[in-house]
Symmetry: D2
Subunit: 415 residues, 4 copies
């Protein structure tokens, strides 16, 4: 009997009963996820948020293992071992393409972690050969599930929807690591609330409030953790550092830079091997290098990140073009290049998405209803936005000097 057990702070134990999954865990591509934090720069706000995509991927796998075990017992689904393996492998590998400080990195460098996930599964030697041992269509089917092609609708829904094993693990894990209760929900009950009809996944109507709790936990995690202004300010700083490097390289300036990073930043199509060499240690090391750069802007921005002198967030309405110009002028006047030191971010708080992707409840009588139809609470969860400005603290200040006064008068005017 094959059995490997990993100790886990969220699920107590993560259990491997199929050698295939264990082999995947031990590939170089998967082990790389140990060097990428799950929550990007959130550790600048919540010092406990050091947990990795490696831990989360294991947790998503474990959650899938429990969901599948429940559904096999209760619904005899999936009714073949190959689909069980597809579900488990998809849960384990769904994040394998993530890069360092993912979303920011992707935004600046036009990289898409999903595409990299597909490429890595298909092209990384160790991963691919392991998957090929099942059968030669297995890797492609796995990618098909992650792409949501519609060929395995049940598994696809469990991997990526508003109620999937990805979110189920990360909310609990992020809550535990940061130390907040906002992301807590009734995991075991929620797992038992799943049911399958004709290959589609539903939630039993009797678990209405359990799903409400889960979706509200997600809302609270967004407003209290994921979009915390200090975290977003850290993201902006990373974005500006990478932008400055890219701008310098484009301008033909010489910049000390780790080769793997240069290959990606240069915008040429990097190889899977080069991409897999990228992780947060590489990026942090680059920040170290750049904190001694001859370019004053790059040097300053990188030092700010390492020493955690972050941009200050100001929550306010979108500035008018006049206000915006005034801010840039003021920043420039005191030596802050406005392209790198004056920023705006629109933070999206996701709502409950009803357009064809809702959570469908099913009654004992088989009647299907979208969750939002019977939950007033859930109907309030519509997407919303918050505008924020980010500036160096020195620019805002709190003193009576003319500069602070001028910036504050711009920022806090009634726009």
């Amino acid at each position: 009997m094959f059995e490997k057990v990993l100790k886990d702070p969220v699920h107590d134990e993560i259990l491997f009963e199929d050698p295939l999954l264990w082999t995947l865990v031990n590939t170089s591509a998967f082990q790389r996820l140990r060097r990428i934090r799950q929550l990007g720069t959130s550790y600048m706000t919540f010092h406990g948020a050091e947990h990795t995509r490696f831990a989360h991927s294991l947790g998503a796998y474990e959650t899938m293992r429990k969901v599948v075990s429940h559904l096999q017992r209760e619904c005899d689904w999936p009714n073949n071992q190959r689909e069980v393996r597809l579900a488990l492998c998809a849960a384990l590998l769904h994040d394998v393409g993530h890069g360092p400080f993912s979303h920011t990195f992707e935004a600046v460098l036009d990289v898409h972690h999903e595409s990299w996930t597909y490429r890595i599964i298909m092209e990384d030697g160790a991963l691919r050969s392991t998957l090929d041992e099942v059968d030669e269509a297995f890797a492609a089917d796995l990618v098909s599930i992650l792409r949501k092609d519609g060929r395995f609708p049940g598994i696809e829904a469990l991997i990526s929807s508003q109620l999937d094993v990805d979110r189920m693990d990360y909310m609990l894990r992020d809550a535990l690591s940061t130390g907040v209760s906002y992301g807590q929900f009734e995991l075991t009950r929620l797992i038992r609330s799943f049911t399958v009809r004709d290959g589609r996944v539903f939630v039993k109507r009797s678990s209405l409030h359990t799903v409400e709790q889960y979706l509200l936990a997600r809302y609270f995690m967004y407003v209290q953790v994921y979009l915390h202004p200090v975290t977003v300010g850290s993201d902006v700083l990373v974005e500006k550092i990478l932008t400055r490097v890219r701008d310098l390289l484009r301008a033909g300036e010489r910049v000390d830079i780790p080769p793997a990073l240069e290959e990606v930043i240069s915008g040429n199509d990097p190889s899977v091997e080069a991409y897999l060499r990228l992780d947060e240690s590489v990026l942090l090391y680059a920040f170290h290098l750049w904190s001694e750069s001859r370019d004053a802007i790059l040097k300053d921005l990188s030092s700010r990140f390492l020493d955690r002198r972050l941009f200050a967030p100001i929550v306010r309405d979108k500035p008018s073009p006049g206000e915006w110009a005034a801010l840039r002028t003021t920043a420039k006047a005191v030596g802050f290049h406005p392209d790198y030191y004056v920023s705006e971010r629109v933070c999206n708080i996701p709502g409950y998405d009803i357009l064809g992707h809702g959570i469908t409840l099913i009654g004992a009588d088989g009647e299907e209803t979208d969750l939002s139809q019977i939950s007033k609470l859930i109907r309030t969860l519509v997407p919303s936005q918050e505008h924020r400005l980010f500036l160096p603290k020195e620019l805002i200040g709190d003193g009576p000097d003319p500069l602070s006064h001028r910036v504050r008068s711009i920022l806090y005017s009634k726009s």
Copy 2:
């Protein structure tokens, strides 16, 4: 009223009521601790163990804040604000000199984190100038406490003894992050059990079993977590990588190496600035560089670490000289340089230390007793050792081939 609050997974909140402490937190030297894991390579065994010395230092501070608050209320000690500040600053800064993968790094490079802590406190500009604002003897007094010079016996005992705020925080934090219950103990009760007489710290005799629980939790953390064979195997690998680099440099070979690391590895007396540039991102980046080294040994060892193909631990008695030679010969015969691929480690499980550093209980009648005198359990906690050998998995194998057979016959012979 000054108040800063950080959310913490162990203590719920970490509270700053004195701007001095908050200024220290925001120095570059302290923020560097975000890039050094509390448990070194333990994350290779327990994937949750990504928590940092930054988080632990905050937790040690918070524990000290509570201990001092209790002792002031109950014993009117310390009876002046300066000593309170010394206690809090010492707790916050006690680990500021730690380097990456501390103990291994120190072993290979003859670096002592304690000495670096003293130097950084005295020499780092931002830290020193902040401390100097209290008074000009403050920084030196802080170092005196960390050195245990005996001038502040009460504070020294709370900072470093068998029952100190350092251990009180790290046991709970390590337990939470790894997901084990072994390190749990009754923190609040233990804090209330402290009492002070004539400037010396005692534990109330009525809390005997609470201290027993704490010391046994420490024992269990050692045997189940800190000295886990897989973790020690990871340490050995880091040691061998650093040793190889040092050997190559000494031999005048060219090795790609981050400058800050080279300065330390070269064995010259590095500056505080250089030392503070070292962290685990630098070391991990170096492993990346070396995983593509022209030196085959360095390349192989570094790749093993990044991909987590660790040395396999074998728990057994110390090999005889003959066995040892046979192992080295066998390894060499198949291409493993024995200096780097065949290792031995003696792991020390600390006991309860009675020699002048015991935990002294005090009865309601003022009678003082060493804990070990009245606790049979504690008397069993004597230092012990475990011998282990570490070899590449390929060398041990489990197959019927002659090599595996030969190594196994050496390893598992009755020595």
Copy 3:
């Protein structure tokens, strides 16, 4: 230094630093609360829900102690020791008038626990003389606070409002005991969010989402725990037992009954001494007595409770008069007296109450806003109702027999 510590599963420790409070804890009237469960018959649904009003009262006191400690430090409020003591005593004693299976008991017997709380504080010898030691107006001021006379608006709000120490403790305690996560919220942060201006309590606007979490936790506790259909069915059973006894006594029938209970049930104005002799052991013992009553209805109902053969809940619209009559006729036909075996309950899920009793947020600029004005989520929390019918399981059945069929056709018709 006076210090008494009680170990508590919710707050870790409950700390007494004022001998006055400790004396109150040790009165007979307060100790009686050990024999009254916090959640009435909920233990029939959640077997962990055995925690008592004694534990909850201690927890409400501890929460108040922390709130007051925070407010004194931050707002210098209350600015005198007498008001601190009023706040702490009010939190400790707010439930001292509760009877067994409170709400049901009160409904049948026209008893109001609030009035009994006031009477007990004023009339119980030990309690009163303890309070009188503070000063002779202290007991009356305490009652004034519990009555919400408006003389101590800040303390009154902390004792009884939508955000008070009562709810703050019971939600966490009920969640822990039942084993659900629904009632979890960020207690420490919420406590720090309180502020006082001109003697009125506000919540800082920056803690908007923390209050939202708290109110949603309350919502989830209502729909998932407090109004659980099985619990309500248990309440209905207790109600019917007490009703039957009262009816028998009014009809002049002889019923074995504990004297203290008879004194209350008889409807004469019972003495404080008699009332304080009532607790859940008395009521459960009465059920034992009645389970052997000569009255068949009383005997049957009481046995059902002891053996947990509860009424089955049916969630559906209010029956029409015709349906209602049909149900009663059917029940009667098979020997179930409809007055005792066919019941209806309207369960009220409380909403966020805005009418003059809302939670007022206060901005850094002093601007006051009702929570509902800025939280869409909270605006969905309007009072709602659920109609439920309760019948013996035997009446509903699930078999093909004519009786089950008839009842089911009435219950599940489209009304």
Copy 4:
């Protein structure tokens, strides 16, 4: 598919997949356990300790369900459904014979809960007929397991040994309810450490430290919770109340007493029906009755219990006959009947029991070792005793009056 789920604070959920077990849960005899606390009078010390034998029995069942599931998967044991059912039923029903305030009640009244468990299983109509539906030998086999006749050695060991599902549940449950961490251990790992050879249960040698942790948790629960002096003082009070009632009845005095209790106290062989009517509500009600007794001693003792004016514990060596006589004389002189007010208790702290009942570890090589042979820690766990005296607080006092002085001089003399 049959499935019933109960929410549980220790195990999250308790799962029933076999209707047989669910039917047993719903018998009157099993539901009675809702009215008997797991920890007797411990709630007088730890106000959270209100959890019942009902909850514990469910938890022991759930633990057995997990153990059996593990052993079936790993060792194919038990290899038939009948033995699985025996194991589950034995775990569920092992405490069904417990009476109110068990150990004290049993001591005074010469009642043995084990014998009552056997009788109830064999004689209670509903239980027996449910068990008979499996087969006619099933009930007898169940009793055989609980008696440890040796016919089902594996199941017997899991039900009652030093490492059984009974202890595994109660330590975690008692720890949670009281709020202490002392009873925590690694449940899941411990369950996986079980293995079976030739029908005997072993623990894998690799789980040595996990078993050590479990046994030390038990030690700490004994010294910190189960034998807490205040709890033992409460037990002594219950004992004295029951003794006084028995003495009065034997002397032919008239005592108000619930009939079911009288039947047991009278010492005649009570019927199963009478015994099952006994629970803690009956005993507490009796204390209410007796708190108004004409017998001054009974009245006083009962009031003391209800109002929690417990005997004060004095931990000291066994008094000499002279001291003993002096104490009794002094007590009598001030009106305390020494037979009821001066007591001695020897509290036994159990050790690790090696005599034929040890925990046997088994190595990968099949070698069997008793745990104590390889664990020094465990060898310190030898049975020990603590002598305690219990007196009314009034007798000890702390004042300068002659009485207090005299008693104290007796108590605190060097005996």
